[in-house]
């Protein structure tokens, strides 16, 4: 038997998480490792099997997304405010999106989770404790898959796609004289943080340099065991018609 749902630390004192019967699956990994592609594929795979799925993404709450964009345009400088903006965004999505979906028995696919905030804050402040306290209200996921990549390959991929941006390069930390040096140093520190957390929080780690098919196969193999147990515990099933139309759409 799986143990009951838990909060990370000081939880939402006004909300008992024990009746949240859905599954919370997190895909972590830096920009450029293909998280969103894999989440799309997973959603389709799950919906075809009849499972209700919602996806949720970092900084995508209706309350906060614009504020965070403004902040990143240079209106904010300190790491506390940035961390707290992320936390507010996350809390908004947790209470209005993730928890209601879990309560109704949906599978929630989270594109990044609190670990992203942990890594960014720890790299910036050197203090891993405060940020974990802040996110104490987060729900412990059923599964965390981490798409791991090395900084060299990542730099190549990012240059080939959207290019390096200020924040993903950690330019606020003044680690290097130009975007490329800073990017490499910052992402190396981030990967180190993620490696530490992979042990601490028992991530399922997959090499993001593998082919898309191989990675997808890995993710499905990790998710499959959760489904079987969830299935017998009354997970919501999307009507056959809905699953069909989702398939046609892609």
């Amino acid at each position: 038997m799986a143990k009951g749902r838990q909060y990370f630390g000081d939880g939402l004192a006004y909300l008992n998480p024990s009746d949240l019967k859905g599954k919370l699956i997190v895909i972590e990994g830096t920009d450029g490792v293909g998280r969103s592609t894999h989440i799309e594929l997973l959603q389709e795979w799950l919906e075809v099997q009849g499972y209700g799925v919602i996806t949720t993404g970092w900084t995508r709450s209706s309350l906060m997304s614009r504020t965070i964009d403004t902040a990143k345009e240079g209106n904010i400088l300190d790491h506390w405010s940035l961390s707290l903006l992320y936390a507010t965004d996350f809390a908004d999505r947790l209470e209005h999106q993730i928890i209601p979906a879990l309560r109704s028995g949906f599978i929630v696919l989270a594109d990044r989770y609190i670990y992203t905030a942990f890594a960014r804050a720890t790299v910036r402040s050197g203090d891993p404790t405060w940020i974990r306290d802040v996110f104490g209200f987060a729900i412990v996921p059923d599964l965390v898959c981490y798409l791991r990549i090395d900084a060299d390959t990542l730099a190549l991929r990012v240059l080939e796609s959207n290019g390096m941006n200020y924040w993903e390069s950690g330019m606020d930390l003044r680690l290097g004289t130009d975007l490329y040096d800073s990017f490499k140093k910052y992402q190396t520190l981030m990967i180190e943080e993620f490696d530490k957390m992979a042990e601490e929080f028992k991530f399922e780690v997959v090499d993001a340099r593998k082919s898309l098919e191989e990675i997808q196969e890995f993710l499905r193999a990790k998710i499959q065991p959760l489904l079987r147990s969830a299935h017998s515990r009354g997970l919501a099933r999307v009507p056959a018609g809905a699953a069909d139309s989702a398939t046609e759409g892609s």
Binding site: A13, E73, D78
Partner: protein
């Protein structure tokens, strides 16, 4: 687990900056803002360069709070986090620089407001304290203690004439009647404040007394606290809140 880095948990131990941080706390209608204003006038007349900051006033977060309040989508946790974000931003931009430069900073409400309000809204007391553990311990913290009826009479008889939705705790579904809701909500806040006063050793002021009597007391306490303080100022006259210039962001209408 990595052990906590104690040097980063600044709340709960005196700061080492040359400036002074003086804050006021109390419920709405306690008269704390009036007292702080009078203190500022006096300090300035003594030749001090004084900086003022107030709760929930940073441009960045104010917009979002307004939006959340309008759509009534704020939960106790997002409400709490938004205020912490605002506080962090003001700490970094408005409080720390003058403190480091050796000036006096006056704050209308501080982290204690969050400790009191957020607990009443239902978030974990220990969580909200951890949330603010990065803040600076004030040199002086005044708590203006007032009975709920006095506060209500002041607010209804005063310039405001009515209660604001969130100040009255209307989101908590206590009562449909705004005044009654305010009474219940703010009474709970008062009892939280009582605990906080003991926990953090705030200086309690009897806020039912005459304005000038309270101010005399306040100035006496401040005079003592500034005994060994060496005022610092640049060569210019008073410049209000311009030491930090924002760039590249247009002012909201």
């Amino acid at each position: 687990m990595t052990p906590p880095t104690s040097s980063l948990r600044t709340f709960g131990q005196p700061h080492s900056y040359p400036g002074k941080l003086i804050i006021v706390e109390g419920i709405d209608g306690s008269g704390k803002s009036t007292q702080l204003l009078l203190l500022q006038k006096w300090l300035e007349s003594q030749g001090h360069n004084v900086f003022f900051t107030e709760w929930n006033s940073s441009d960045l977060v104010k917009e979002t709070t307004k939006k959340g309040k309008k759509s009534k989508s704020l939960t106790p946790t997002t409400f709490s986090l938004l205020h912490a974000t605002d506080f962090a931003s003001r700490l970094y931009h408005s409080i720390l620089p003058p403190l480091k430069a050796g000036m006096i900073v006056l704050a209308d409400r501080y982290a204690y407001t969050a400790f009191a309000r957020d607990a009443v809204r239902g978030v974990s007391r220990s969580w909200v304290r951890k949330l603010y553990s990065f803040s600076i311990q004030p040199d002086l913290a005044f708590y203006f203690k007032v009975p709920i009826d006095t506060a209500i009479a002041r607010l209804l008889g005063g310039t405001r004439g009515q209660f604001k939705y969130y100040e009255a705790g209307m989101d908590m579904g206590i009562s449909q009647d705004v005044t009654e809701s305010f009474r219940v909500f703010q009474s709970r806040i008062l009892s939280e404040y009582d605990k906080i006063v003991d926990e953090y050793g705030l200086t309690v002021m009897d806020a039912t007394r005459e304005i000038e009597e309270q101010q005399d007391d306040m100035r006496a306490v401040v005079t003592k606290a500034l005994e060994h303080y060496k005022p610092k100022r640049g060569g210019y006259g008073k410049r209000t809140a311009v030491f930090w210039r924002r760039f590249g962001v247009s002012k909201p209408e």
